[in-house]
Symmetry: C2
Subunit: 205 residues, 2 copies
Amino acid sequence: MSLRDRKRARTRQALVDAAADLFERNGYDQTTVADIAAAADIGTRTFFSYFASKEELLFPESDSRVQATVDAIAARKPADGPAEVLLTALRNIGEDSNDMVSPLAGLRMRLIQTVPAVRGRALQIQLDAQREIARHLAAEFPDQLDQVSAAALTGAFVGAVQGALQVLLEDPERQANPAAMRAAVGQAADIALTPWLRHGSATRH
Amino acid sequence: MSLRDRKRARTRQALVDAAADLFERNGYDQTTVADIAAAADIGTRTFFSYFASKEELLFPESDSRVQATVDAIAARKPADGPAEVLLTALRNIGEDSNDMVSPLAGLRMRLIQTVPAVRGRALQIQLDAQREIARHLAAEFPDQLDQVSAAALTGAFVGAVQGALQVLLEDPERQANPAAMRAAVGQAADIALTPWLRHGSATRH
DNA sequence: GCGCAATTATGCACTCATTGCAGAATTGCA
DNA sequence: TGCAATTCTGCAATGAGTGCATAATTGCGC
């Protein structure tokens, strides 16, 4: 990585940090891109060569969870079916929860609940992730899943996790207990994927 | 409904029609709010007293499908469990497909695929719908579903339908055959909800 | 070290969505 | 007909995002 790249990465990080700080202190809408650029000591125009939009600041790293899931699909044990693979991936992700510690995560979560633009972006990312996972799943299990089934399975999986989270995140009490939350989410996913578990062949009809 | 209300409704419709026409002809981004207002013969400023934003033009009616689903929940047969109710609702919705005929529907679908702001709004609506349905479901089946399970079930249901649609809508060939599409979506939902069907009590673990 | 080509960073001007405000135009009802 | 409530509009701003032209940096070959 050249000096150029390193400097660019540093500036990028500075922008994220400055934004997090300003959002936290003054609120998302009250913070202008100009403010953020100024805090990171670059020109306002330059901001847009680092991030295409203000929302992007909150999603600086491509979601590693998608990659982890895709990896889990590739690394499946021969006996595992599609559902096992997804559930295994979910468990692994829960453990090395590096996303939970990011200083951005909490802020991001709060803003997703309150700022439409941010929520839109988050959901867009979710859909893209779903599509990506479904694609790999269909490729890995060509005998058991056609495109539509793979998408439905992934959708049900993500939907269940997401639905459970939607409720869990509304309850501050539960948020205080990450272990319990993870357990609840895992259970939701388990339940949603049950029909896919026991049958080696496609559950047609 | 007073003259005032009728006139207001007429103007509102005129805006939707004008927008649909302009979006269709020139594209979403190339059509400014000012253009739309001018086409409907009202001031640009006035536009914002009819719609809070440009996207809203594409979602003029509150989604009747949510209401239909909620009604289906209330009208359930005593023997029906949560999953049956959802599947029944899905079938009913498919039949009186009044949404499919709206001249807006096709355009909306295309724009959801291509315009981030529109997609964001659509997804937001989906999440709200999910929350609403889960709420009613939990209330109707207090013995079988807690808040989290209801949200997970609803999420799996909506996710499966949505995932299936995501794939189906990418294929112009399938779009030409609505009946087949509906069947595929129904099957996806069936599969996703299988575990909830046969067991009267909660499928704990 | 020097100089050139590629890559970045900026300033400026502009388009657009969206909002607050204040005054003009309409409408409903007494 | 006349007043009060409701709408409609123009005007001025704010703030995101973009195109363009120019200046500042950096990577490399000599």
